[in-house]
Symmetry: D2
Subunit: 276 residues, 4 copies
Amino acid sequence: MIGMHPDFKLKGFSYPLTPKGISSVIQSFPWHYGTEYLNILFRTDPDVVKSFLPEPLELGPDPGLGYVAFSKWWSISDENKDMPLINPERTQYKEAAIWVGCSFRGNPGQICLFVWVDNDFTMARGWFMGFPKKLGQVYITDYHFLNPGMPQKMEGATFKGIASAHGEKLMEGTMTVERKIKQSDLPPIMTAPPYHIRHFPNIESPTAPPSVLELVRLGAENKKVGEEIWEGSGTLKFYESEIEEHFALRPKEILGAYRFSSGYTFPGGEIVYSWV
Amino acid sequence: MIGMHPDFKLKGFSYPLTPKGISSVIQSFPWHYGTEYLNILFRTDPDVVKSFLPEPLELGPDPGLGYVAFSKWWSISDENKDMPLINPERTQYKEAAIWVGCSFRGNPGQICLFVWVDNDFTMARGWFMGFPKKLGQVYITDYHFLNPGMPQKMEGATFKGIASAHGEKLMEGTMTVERKIKQSDLPPIMTAPPYHIRHFPNIESPTAPPSVLELVRLGAENKKVGEEIWEGSGTLKFYESEIEEHFALRPKEILGAYRFSSGYTFPGGEIVYSWV
Amino acid sequence: MIGMHPDFKLKGFSYPLTPKGISSVIQSFPWHYGTEYLNILFRTDPDVVKSFLPEPLELGPDPGLGYVAFSKWWSISDENKDMPLINPERTQYKEAAIWVGCSFRGNPGQICLFVWVDNDFTMARGWFMGFPKKLGQVYITDYHFLNPGMPQKMEGATFKGIASAHGEKLMEGTMTVERKIKQSDLPPIMTAPPYHIRHFPNIESPTAPPSVLELVRLGAENKKVGEEIWEGSGTLKFYESEIEEHFALRPKEILGAYRFSSGYTFPGGEIVYSWV
Amino acid sequence: MIGMHPDFKLKGFSYPLTPKGISSVIQSFPWHYGTEYLNILFRTDPDVVKSFLPEPLELGPDPGLGYVAFSKWWSISDENKDMPLINPERTQYKEAAIWVGCSFRGNPGQICLFVWVDNDFTMARGWFMGFPKKLGQVYITDYHFLNPGMPQKMEGATFKGIASAHGEKLMEGTMTVERKIKQSDLPPIMTAPPYHIRHFPNIESPTAPPSVLELVRLGAENKKVGEEIWEGSGTLKFYESEIEEHFALRPKEILGAYRFSSGYTFPGGEIVYSWV
């Protein structure tokens, strides 16, 4: 199915490539997603954001604006919609991501600069889409409405997201729910098109250009946002790590917090620039 | 707070006991629970069930009846209702359990013979309630209603639960949803009172009687079942393991499958018998 | 085999109790251990240590002395010496523990106040021996002598131990190796007999005395220490947590660091006091 | 440092690319390795092996010959030799791999067709070297010589390796140690040069050729094998999975088992062919 040199008979969207293509850590897009978000909107130093944006990427319309998304995901590939039944473990994961605004040739967008997930298929799929994914643990407050000791309504309820990796806490955010809002009240940065850097290193020489280093605008179809969109106040703290660099983006100001659900289909991306 | 010898000044419901009682792996009951169940009702060999029931426990009113519950839990202790905000990780877990019917002095009940969970606090709390918990991985099909590629209605939807531990699959069950039912249509075994064996081994001699070996009837208050109760057909398979004994209880017949939510408060149990 | 009421026909040293006793999360002692230690010796506030010692436990001969042990374990039960072949996963684990000196009726000893391990069987076994075990992640520097980029000799080599749990770092220690020492040069606290508190909570009332609350002196036979015993300088840092209390014991002074191997057999313990 | 378009100012050998290059999931090669191997040599159907080898890769000199390597790894990047001290977790992992013989233009080699590892940095690094890595759990028998209940000599000792992923066991092998051998007695396939397929999918269209699809011969310097090389008899079993394809390579005959240590430096690879 994949168009390449006729000598290459193995199948699979990604590793491992095999005669039948069954083993691939992730099947081919289109990919369908459903998500529960706990997002904390913040402002950081625009100069720091700028240092993370290689030309031709530029600062976005509101320089220094960003958000952390703690999220739960339900995902499948169009070519294997039975995966939730074959192995549920291959269709659910949690994620914690740092997004900042950017723009490309005048078009505002967003870029994910750090992101931790808790399974291999989503880490791999993320790489193919230019998400710089690493493994981590993500914990998000969740209430069950039949639990007699838990809050029974959203107004006033409090939520926390925690991201940890390699044995240390990396960031933590909280939300106190205040009011229900409309979809149009969501901060535009959260729905701006992602501009991501796809990268695959060279293996011949550590000083040679990467095999892939391209800017891609990720597509989205079938976009839906759930009815329950909540806004509130937030807190957000980044923790230093000797082997992470996200602390440079730590918040200067917290602008709000949002809790909502969404769904979409990823139909593919468009390569808009290549550095190699 | 805990009544014991006045010389004992440490606090905590369980290990680690400390001056302030903060470290305890689980705080004191009452415990509040919310649960999402995927249950497969089955019939196994009554003689095998009998071999798992020490006198004075006896076979239940429908000998050989049992069910496997794949479930997600939201739990808190009454003495620390803020835990979902302090650390969400301490309030959520997944569980896979094998329950069979039993009776005690003419009172029908149920007993959990095997159960795997994915965190320490629930393992420890389970032990205190006579659940024979071990660590494992539990995977349960879940759909997000905004995912464009996932089922949009329950009728006809299929679900799977998987339990694994120490690197091997232990059991797997599926449900095909057929119809909505009323709470009164749920199999009585699923709401019968649990009779559990609390056990804590002797450490002086491997042949001495255990320090604790008592039969307890677990209490339940504030019981609620969610509106959405679904019934359907099921499959269930147990896998052999050199270090597990659950395979002896493998199903002879699958009677149905159930998907529902519930909540309750555990106020404490009553010791109804002691073997030591 | 276990002596108890003849009506109780189930077998197993611990949960789950079953007809054949195969499922037990840990088999009966005697237990055989081999260990690789990275220990940091420190001094903390004696008053804090005292607050962790319920009477009749008292401060040890050197009040405030303690050590953190980052360690790798190889363990088996005498009744199933084939476990390393049946499932290697059931015989290896890592541990990070905080030990302090104590004394009981004039006999010096040590007590483990906090300990994190990375598997269920060792957590359960620890509880039976009065170790207040919780699950955590333990990372310990290790070098492979054939790795061309790693240190080729011990003198000057540096090692780190890290303990994390529920998504946060709890403590971290380092050692710079300086010299080889003899077994008799090891700090006596590291080989003093453990006095531990065995505890199993009551389930009838949160204010009732525990079912088990007893002081036990743990036995040790076949004690061996490997030839390679290294001493050096150390660092040690405890991190605060909202759900841990170990920070109270944080070091005031670091006295040294030790790296060595040992082995022993646990033949059982002796109950020397009961608070209930 | 990395040579690419001057506009691209971010650093790092791999994701995440950042201003300082600290966050990269793995630092640049040269990479230094030390390894403990438990290898089971087997013969499978040559036609099946052939179906895994895209032209110009061909069957090796002994068609159908392969081995499973259960292994523990100690690794560092030359540009950050302090990583074992910064965070030991970033320098140790376990791996289970299926290797088969192959040849390229008359040169015999080996290719890794399936491999499971237990951490993200090694999964990512593997991808860059053409290893089709997925996350899994790997358990390997290990004995500690000071454990009073464990074997005290290698002759006659038995070892097991287990590989599991996504909740199911994938393969299992055992070795009974028989004799010490010389390095020159090791099966040549185990030291033949690896020919791997580097692959990075296209993101614009699922039917477009991959962005990278090239054959690479991996280099090795500073090769060392430890003194203790053991040979014995083995067993090996592959387990079916709905989402893995390794079962097609299941052994027809077990030829032997090997336990040894080795070390080497990876200086880079050479691209010898490209399919796109």
